[in-house]
Symmetry: C2
Subunit: 281 residues, 2 copies
């Protein structure tokens, strides 16, 4: 599997790079970003995957989250995929900001016309890690995952479904119970069809109620988040954690909204959370 | 003078805000960004102005430079203006990325058709500070200034011309000797006319040779900067500093380019440099 380098830049003693490759899962060209910390010059390092939210790209996290300085200190590789296939030429794919392009929801679609290209679950959990571990000095048995909003939903569901492959997990303002909110209902009904039993495998609150994740889950949420009650519903996750005995640290932060101004404020806590597991600091 | 709030966001315990107002200097609506550190809730704080480079806006620094975390710790207000008037409706203003819109060069134009609107020197040095000090808890006698590329040129020339108004100054990859390079020659000949004697007041190397700044000037420069030899010419500034006895710390960093990946790497050193003067740390 070949990758194309779009650009690379020295940053905090490491390398910030933007790449593309042809994905067999999505059938399209996919872009992704990798930050290699200075430690990766001499050894394989843990890789921490970040899944972004609606409308974002592989660039958003690297540019806006203020994560690179501490990743360089902690020796964490950062990996950021795009949020959907692009240019699949599916009618309507670009019509809405919360569905289709930029809104892959980190699931494998089963409904036409989406099923052939919208396979972000398989892309993020299998194809991309293989590619990363082939081309970059990333440890293959030492991955973490986190994300924001739609990407927080992605990180939580992926870690809950594959606890052996993802040793640490956290989220910023995740869509915690997507089967009950407009963003999730719109995406799941189109990508997965009308049968709601098929939706449950992509709902973090339902998954967590069935089976807890074998580690602490850190979640930060702003109380002034404009989507808090209508789309995010962290209370559902808190109740699921109570039911299954999940070790969950859900922090609510007065006055913070849904933006990267919120995310960057608590980024150091998340990177440290992951480094405790991945780097045993 | 009224200002309009476009958006405000909690960040690192302070407030990140984006604003607009009608400028009497440019005759247009101007946008600017202000980060208020947590200390500004209780007291007036020093204000550090950042001037961005070609094609940038008032958002670029706040989003890409990774400065807010440390500004919050150090108690520095950050102020970022736009890089030119926009929508002045001058024929050709949007034709080039290195002249006109997004390329005001922090000077007061004297040539038609630019002279009426392109007054970024007066805007940045007088109108904007008055506005900031009227509407935000900024100390009026305790300002610093820094910038990148075209904005590094702006910061250096402004501090050299007004050392009493700007107590600290630094720059990332500044256009150090604009009267001798293509970007500067294009801008100055159009904004200031063909008489090169009028250009000298906006050339940091010429100004510094005449009169040193009464404090340390910190400059960082990447050795892999694609504009190093053709447009930036820090050697001219080093020679001027030697001639006038200027206290200049010019650091060259192997492998770094002209991007904000470079800038963010050395941001902490610049904020600390300014805080030493403005906060007496």
């Amino acid at each position: 599997m070949a990758i194309d380098t779009r650009s690379e830049h020295q940053c905090f003693g490491g390398r910030m790079g933007f790449y593309s490759h042809h994905s067999r899962e999505t059938g399209t060209k996919m872009r992704f970003a990798v930050y290699r910390p200075p430690q990766a010059e001499k050894e394989q390092v843990p890789a921490l995957y970040y899944l972004a939210g609606l409308t974002c790209t592989e660039e958003t996290f690297m540019i806006k989250a203020g994560a690179l300085r501490l990743a360089a200190e902690l020796g964490l590789m950062l990996v950021a995929p795009d949020t959907s296939p692009r240019g699949a030429n599916i009618p309507g794919e670009d019509d809405d900001w919360d569905f289709g392009t930029g809104a892959g929801f980190y699931l494998d679609a089963t409904e036409k016309p989406w099923a052939q290209n919208y396979r972000m679950y398989s892309y993020v959990t299998a194809e991309l890690p293989s590619l990363i571990e082939d081309h970059f000095p990333a440890q293959s048995d030492n991955r973490g995952i986190f994300g924001h909003s739609m990407g927080g939903h992605g990180a939580l569901t992926i870690a809950l479904k594959q606890p052996d492959r993802w040793r640490s997990v956290s989220a910023f303002a995740p869509i915690s119970n997507p089967t009950t909110v407009p963003w999730g209902e719109k995406a799941f009904s189109n990508y997965l069809g009308p049968d709601r039993t098929a939706w449950a495998q992509y709902d973090a609150s339902i998954l967590m109620r069935r089976q807890s994740y074998p580690g602490l889950i850190l979640i930060d949420q702003g109380t002034s988040d404009e989507f808090l009650d209508t789309q995010l519903r962290p209370d559902a996750l808190a109740m699921a954690a109570a039911a299954s005995g999940q070790n969950l640290l859900l922090r609510r932060h007065e006055a913070y909204d849904h933006s990267y101004w919120f995310i960057q404020t608590f980024m150091a806590d998340h990177l440290t959370h992951h480094a405790r597991v991945l780097r045993a600091i």
